[in-house]
């Protein structure tokens, strides 16, 4: 069953007693979800190529980051351009600690997680206190300025961050890529595979946490605030507090996503984690999947990352079909242009995104069948 309030409401209304006793059976959509997770787990064994595994790992990480962003944008109605910055904070905290310690051990990763959480929570609290009370648009501006500042800091504070060259580092303990544990199914079980599964399970766990959060009473209040804040206050909700909850939680998850990202690449630089282009990508992923759907983040992340890996080559080979045309060559080189155009078109003409559109359609059908029922009565 789609995570759809309409459907649950219907059950509750028409069938109070039934819904209480019934243990929910596995629906086709649940099976689909479990299937995807199992498939993700099997990928390293089915496809020996690193390329596929790399794409899968990035899809998972970005699903997580995009979902946490959706919590802010889609469920709370707050546009924070600093979300990419929190992602960067996570990535840099693990990179810096492992890089600056002589002999990193497993607990250094725990320390990195703690540091990034503390920094993210602290910073998101500060941002909220400064800007939430004024106006949503102000929040957007302030976070954008902050994100730019973080990028500049990453580039210019060379003694700490290594500047534009970035930091490469090695992972400790079982995560070390040189670690091997033997072979299963013709596939070598090594540190990289361990990290892959760490990403898989962390994403699963945190994503489930986000789903639970949005489906909890708090999540419901957030949606009401997005819709009509004044009314939510009149109902007795202290809206400010709820918005802070959402921002702190979302930002923390984003920084955890950053940690996973850095661990997968074993390399960070300012452009790869702090640049506005990352933020634009996250935005595009949310929009394509559908704001306020959470599950849409899977669709958005998968679409964009797969295209990103495949579009440049496709354009290049297409450009070669037209020989000696400089313009076409240049147009093929700037493949990000097409993302930008797609972005604008999606915002203007497809604002609900893939999953949002499907759900709206589905809800319409539920209402129609309900009104037919009423007429029959």
């Amino acid at each position: 069953m789609i995570m759809d309030s309409g459907m649950t409401d219907k059950m509750a209304v028409n069938d109070h007693t039934l819904s209480k006793e019934n243990v929910p059976a596995l629906t086709s959509l649940d099976t689909f979800r479990i299937g995807i997770v199992i498939l993700m787990g099997l990928v390293p064994f089915i496809f020996p190529s690193f390329r596929v595994m790399d794409v899968m790992a990035k899809i998972m990480i970005f699903t997580l980051v995009v979902a946490s962003f959706d919590l802010l944008l889609g469920y709370t109605g707050i546009l924070s351009f600093a979300h990419g910055m929190f992602f960067g904070i996570g990535a840099y905290s693990v990179a810096l600690i492992l890089y600056h310690t002589a002999a990193p051990a497993w607990y250094h990763i725990i320390i990195a997680i703690l540091i990034s959480l503390v920094v993210s929570i602290g910073l998101s609290l500060v941002i909220s206190f400064f800007s939430l009370r004024v106006k949503a648009i102000f929040f957007a501006m302030l976070t954008l300025a902050l994100a730019e500042f973080a990028h500049i800091l990453g580039v210019q504070w060379t003694s700490l961050t290594g500047g534009e060259d970035g930091i490469s580092f090695t992972l400790p303990w079982i995560f070390n890529f040189n670690h091997t544990f033997g072979t299963v199914w013709h596939t070598q079980i090594n540190g990289r595979l361990v990290v892959y599964f760490l990403i898989l399970f962390s994403t699963l766990f945190l994503f489930a946490g986000l789903v639970r959060f949005t489906r909890s009473p708090v999540g419901r209040v957030l949606q009401s605030i997005r819709d009509n804040e004044q009314r939510a206050v009149a109902l007795g909700y202290q809206t400010f507090r709820y918005q802070i909850y959402s921002i702190v939680f979302g930002s923390s998850v984003a920084s955890l996503g950053g940690i996973l990202f850095a661990m997968w690449l074993c390399y960070v630089n300012p452009d790869s984690v702090f640049h506005t282009a990352i933020m634009v990508n996250i935005l595009l992923m949310v929009l394509i999947g559908g704001m306020g759907t959470l599950y849409g983040s899977v669709i958005g992340a998968a679409f964009l990352i797969i295209t990103e890996n495949w579009l440049p080559q496709l354009l290049k080979s297409a450009a070669e079909l037209v020989p000696q045309s400089h313009v076409i060559q240049v147009l093929a080189d700037r493949w990000q242009l097409y993302f930008g155009i797609l972005f604008v078109l999606v915002v203007l003409f497809f604002p609900k995104g893939v999953l949002g559109t499907i759900r709206a359609h589905y809800r319409q059908r539920v209402i129609e069948s309900e009104s037919i029922e009423n007429q029959l009565k």
């Binding site: 309030s5 309409g6 649950t8 409401d9 219907k10 509750a12 209304v13 109070h16 819904s19 209480k20 639970r212 959060f213 489906r215 909890s216 009473p217 708090v218 999540g219 419901r220 209040v221 949606q223 009401s224 819709d227 009509n228 004044q230 009314r231 939510a232 206050v233 009149a234 109902l235 007795g236 909700y237 202290q238 809206t239 709820y242 909850y245 539920v366 209402i367 309900e370 009423n374």
Partner: protein, 255 residues
């Protein structure tokens, strides 16, 4: 015997710019009564509501709720205490379903708004309670509709259902029939009558339909330029020539 009034204001004033909208106003509303507030446009009726429900902070004076000073309390806190209000222009969560609109109100009343670890479907009793409220205002057939697709009259009913769901001891109704077509008005009237006959809530009502006020009210306060010029029983008010001059402009027209 003197009862503690459910709502009392003392010397209440508020200014906007240089303009005094409510001017040293004292009003007392006895518990479980229905008091109407009438007066020409601009007399400060809605402003008074905003002061009582906490949307505005007064420039001077006090607001008391069951004898307790709530002047410095936020709007959200007052709602939790039991002061519920409806708005002059319809004010609902338009992108949420009808049921969800009411469910949120019940959730607020039961103080489980801060729970983030439990799935909301673990609270079926909330939905049942919401369903009951919707039944009271005869909207039970529209539970799954998005609130924005309701007609104007239905939205006003939903607004009252939300208010009931908060289970407030004091209801502030700001022109519940405003903008409604004539054929929808009796339904609202009936609903207010229902609430009143349960004898467990205090109601403050702002309304322009004079017949309706005469039929419903226990007492009527007449506001003019931010002051109360008369506060009495309906009969006394309708017999008061000063009031009739100020409010009805001479000749009383009963439609």
């Amino acid at each position: 015997m003197t009862m503690t009034p459910a709502i009392e204001t003392r010397n209440l004033s508020i200014q906007f710019g240089g303009h005094v909208a409510v001017d040293c106003l004292d009003i007392q509303v006895d518990p479980f009564c229905l008091k109407s507030i009438i007066g020409p446009n601009g007399a400060g009726k809605t402003t008074l509501f905003n002061l009582i429900s906490g949307q505005y902070q007064p420039t001077q004076g006090q607001v008391l709720f069951n004898g307790k000073d709530i002047t410095r309390m936020s709007a959200a806190k007052r709602a939790q205490l039991g002061i519920g209000r409806s708005f002059q222009l319809t004010n609902i969560f338009s992108s949420l379903t009808v049921l969800e609109n009411v469910r949120l109100a019940i959730q607020s009343r039961q103080q489980i708004g801060m729970v983030f670890w439990k799935d909301f479907s673990k609270y079926p009793e909330l939905e049942e309670a919401a369903y009951d409220c919707l039944q009271q205002v005869r909207l039970q057939d529209k539970t799954l509709h998005e609130a924005s697709v309701l007609t104007h009259g239905e939205q006003r009913k939903l607004e009252i259902a939300i208010l009931l769901a908060l289970d407030p001891s004091v209801l502030l109704l700001d022109e519940p029939t405003a903008g409604m077509s004539l054929e929808d008005v009796p339904a609202i009237l009936e609903i207010i009558q229902d609430i009143k006959s349960q004898q467990n809530r205090t109601i403050l009502l702002v309304e322009h339909k004079f017949d309706m006020i005469m039929a419903l009210s226990d007492s009527i306060a007449v506001l003019q330029e931010g002051r109360i010029i008369c506060d009495d029983t309906p009969e006394a008010v309708s017999g008061n020539p000063v009031v009739m001059e100020a409010y009805l402009g001479g000749g009383v027209k009963h439609e």
